[in-house]
């Protein structure tokens, strides 16, 4: 499914031929899904990713996909014996799946991270926490992205 932005650009013929082929690719969502899965595999390898411990705070209805505040917190004592090593954030529908990877340690005190992401289209945002014991935990939020009603970009 093309995003509304892509459709508008397509309709006005402002895309180059190669991107036109890419945008019209009926498999584009399958390709993006595969890219997401590959990105997650790269992080976790064969290890199972369990839901839990992670809280992904992202607005379910997004005012503007260009700047979306995201906060990830992980339930962890953050001691030398048990801490969060890394937090990875992914999106499902962006041209590439990575958002940000944060590397923490016991010195963080709390496993928390805030940033602002770009989310191109309605879909899932996924946060995966890598713990010091080698386990992986995740949280997923489905978000709705609306397009601004009045754009200024060259439709005329």
């Amino acid at each position: 499914m093309t995003t509304r932005r892509q459709f508008l650009a397509l309709a006005c013929g402002t895309l180059a031929a190669s991107e036109l082929r890419a945008q019209l690719d009926p498999n584009i969502q399958a390709k993006r899904k595969a890219a997401l899965e590959a990105a997650i595999s790269k992080v976790v390898g064969d290890a199972p990713v369990r839901a839990g411990k992670v809280k992904l705070d992202v607005p379910p209805l997004i005012d503007n996909g260009n700047t979306v505040p995201i906060t990830v917190t992980v339930d962890s004592p953050m001691t030398a014996a048990s801490y969060v090593q890394a937090i990875h954030i992914f999106t499902e529908k962006n041209p590439q799946p990575y958002v940000l990877t944060a590397h923490l340690g016991p010195r963080a005190g709390r496993a928390t991270l805030s940033t602002r992401a770009r989310i191109a289209d309605t879909g899932r945002v996924i946060a995966i926490a890598q713990l010091s014991d080698g386990s992986y935990w995740s949280d997923t939020v489905s978000v709705i992205v609306t397009l601004s009603a009045c754009l200024e970009d060259g439709l005329i």
Binding site: I62, N66, T67, P69, T146, L147, A149, L151, E152
Partner: protein, 253 residues
């Protein structure tokens, strides 16, 4: 035929029509999600922060053939500019000037420096910095014998249908505020926080830029930056928002 006419009349009666009563006016802030509002509220992480810092630098930098900074005449902006942005557009030399034009007039006449281009990083930064000094103050545009003809000219522009979509500002922002347009809530169109950091632009922008966006959205020929129509419209909108608090620098979707 008669049933259809009755139905149509009933439908029109159900929509809000005409000016928004003063007590029902709400800033665009209230139409945003919790997280976007938090972006505006936290001074440390408001994305307009850099524009404010740049504006402060420009305020204190000597410029032009006269080799003077804004600060040379105006001193500490927090004192001298307090309330200024709440009074603009103002009638200067018989016609309305907006804040950007007033700043440029000062540059040209007092600093003997070149005017800053509309929507340039510098003009936005300086305007944001000046307007920030009025944050929290009520918008203070008064309808008097001097301003009234221009306010009415602005009102006429606001109520005029335009463009391929044949839409008037009033139809969305007076009659249908609060409803959704393409999934986004329609705000009441009060310029309570300009210049804003607009998430759509991922940058700072002026009220004029935003109005041009709207006009392009209605497939109308947008008024030029600094044109008389544009400033009259700004004056009307600020008068329409009189008494509402200035939020500059606001964050808007």
């Amino acid at each position: 035929m008669r049933a259809a006419a009755l139905f149509f009349a009933a439908f029109c009666a159900c929509t809000q029509a005409g000016e928004i009563p003063l007590a029902e006016r709400r800033s665009g802030y209230e139409f945003m999600g919790r997280e976007t509002r938090a972006m505006q509220d936290d001074d440390a992480t408001n994305p307009a922060l850099f524009a404010l810092l740049d504006g402060e630098t420009l305020w204190n930098r000597a410029d032009g053939a006269a080799g003077r900074a804004c600060a040379a005449c105006h001193g500490d902006a927090a004192q001298s500019m307090k309330g200024a942005a709440a009074r603009y557009p103002a009638i200067v030399g018989g016609k309305p000037l907006n804040l950007e034009q007033r700043i440029n007039a000062c540059r040209v006449e007092k600093q003997r420096a070149a005017a800053l281009a509309y929507e340039s990083k510098e003009l936005l930064a300086l305007t944001a910095y000046v307007a920030r000094q009025s944050r929290g103050l009520p918008i203070a545009i008064d309808a008097n014998d001097t301003t009234r003809p221009f306010i009415e000219a602005g009102r006429a522009l606001y109520e005029r249908r335009q463009g391929q979509l044949n839409l008037a500002c009033a139809q969305c922002h007076d009659d249908n505020w609060g409803r959704s347009l393409a999934g986004t809530p329609i705000p009441q169109a009060h310029p309570t926080g300009y210049p804003i950091y607009r998430l759509e632009w991922q940058a700072m922008g002026s009220l004029e830029r935003r109005l041009r966006n709207c006009m392009i959205g209605a497939r109308a020929e947008p008024y030029g930056y600094g044109s008389p129509e544009m400033v009259e419209l700004e004056l009307y909108l600020m008068w329409r928002a009189r008494g509402m608090k200035l939020e500059t620098p606001a964050v808007r979707p």
